[in-house]
């Protein structure tokens, strides 16, 4: 685990995994909701959005996710050579 953490610190993290961190910061979830599931939830008699941090963000209260974005899982920028690989 220490090695994995160290690799991340050096910027050796896959684009897919970077995206998952982005989802957490933007939505509070590693797997965000979509329109189809919102509809299903209502059909099942559940609230359209679960009462998690994302619901509050949708209602205009984004203080939780802003703090998570600012203070949590700060990843180093994509390395130049990786950037080139990803773009090619």
């Amino acid at each position: 685990m220490e090695l994995r953490n160290y690799a991340t610190k050096l910027g050796n993290i896959s684009p897919n995994h970077r995206a998952v961190v982005g989802y957490l910061k933007n939505f509070g979830h590693a797997v965000p909701i979509n329109d189809e599931v919102r509809k299903r939830r209502v059909e099942l008699g559940l609230e359209e959005l679960p009462p998690t941090a994302f619901k509050f963000k949708q209602e205009g209260d984004d203080k939780d996710l802003k703090k998570i974005e600012e203070y949590m899982f700060d990843l180093p920028p994509v390395k130049e050579e990786k950037k080139e690989e990803e773009e090619s």
Binding site: T8, L24, V31, R40, L44, P51
Partner: protein
């Protein structure tokens, strides 16, 4: 002391955002069993152990502690239906209760996130363990209105029992907690090769390398298909997602022809306790959409007996 017969219901990500019928079923089951489920407002991802712990173990603990604090404020133990959420929250909760130095470090960083302080006043429970040990096969008989009559390939997943020194539920080598419980619902468990291995989704594999994830999963499905169960029964929405989308992938890309309904334990128990199949939600799933649970309705005499 936490509130009795009450749980802070930790939703996680995949259940509310992909399989809300599992959420619906869990609420139905727990309320019928006499528990109150409290909303954990402003909770986030647990965060998932395979990915976030690998990136930054300390921040993983802090984010988990933030969720634990929400439940502490509700004075209620956490209930989760997901192995990954259970893995993270149970492990961090236990660790921070025992390690004062880490608790202080985590609490210092928690202040940056809001009015949070980890106190260590609650426990974290998985629904399979609550059903299996607290209600038990002996107790569920009083609540069910019908039994199914199906053969199930039971998938335990990884984080429910492992690491055993932290989970302290039962042996991960030959567990029977789920088999013993669902037998009371009319399920016949069919054993299959390598039954206790990973589905191929966890450990950050599914997000990182879909091909590797599907290679592991294809082996799993081959072993399941050998014993021809009626359903695949799981206790984790992430495994559930893997079994659902994985069968679809193998059908489309590897000339397979799988159509095994994938059922979470909450869905099964809800059906046996009287929930309409419509709310079990198979119509929303990719596999086994036409599967009818059927089974035997219990008569009043049988219910009394």
């Amino acid at each position: 002391m936490v509130k009795e017969n009450t749980f802070a219901f930790f939703l996680g990500c995949i259940m509310p955002n992909r399989y809300p019928a599992i959420e619906k079923s869990t609420k139905f089951v727990m309320e019928k069993l006499g528990y109150e489920l409290l909303d954990m407002e402003r909770a986030t991802c647990c965060p998932a152990p395979g990915v976030f712990r690998s990136f930054n173990k300390f921040d993983w603990m802090v984010a988990a502690a933030r969720n634990l604090c929400i439940a502490e404020k509700l004075d209620a133990d956490i209930l989760t239906v997901c192995n990954g959420c259970f893995g993270t929250l149970q492990e961090v909760n236990k660790h921070l209760k025992q390690n004062e130095e880490h608790r202080e470090m985590v609490n210092k960083k928690l202040k940056l996130l809001g009015d949070y302080e980890f106190k260590g006043t609650i426990n974290v429970r998985h629904i399979a363990e609550v059903l299996g040990y607290e209600i038990g096969p002996w107790g569920i008989e009083d609540y069910i209105v019908r039994k199914v009559n199906v053969k199930a390939a039971i998938h335990y997943g990884c984080h429910f029992l492992k690491p055993t020194r932290i989970r302290e539920i039962e042996s991960s080598e030959g567990p029977t907690i789920i088999e013993d419980f669902v037998e009371a619902l009319g399920i016949e468990s069919v054993r299959f090769k390598e039954q206790l291995t990973c589905c191929g989704a966890g450990g950050g594999v599914k997000a990182y390398d879909g091909n590797a994830s599907m290679t592991i999963f294809a082996e799993k499905m081959k072993n399941i298909d050998e014993v021809k169960p009626d359903i695949i029964l799981d206790i984790c929405p992430f495994c559930h997602l893997q079994f659902e989308t994985g069968q679809d992938y193998l059908n489309k890309n590897k000339s397979c022809n799988y159509d095994y309904p994938v059922i979470h334990i909450s869905q099964l128990v809800a059906y046996c306790m009287g929930m309409d199949q419509e709310f079990i939600g198979l119509q929303y799933q990719l596999m086994g959409r036409d599967f009818i649970f059927g089974g035997e309705e219990l008569t009043k005499e049988e219910e009394v007996a």
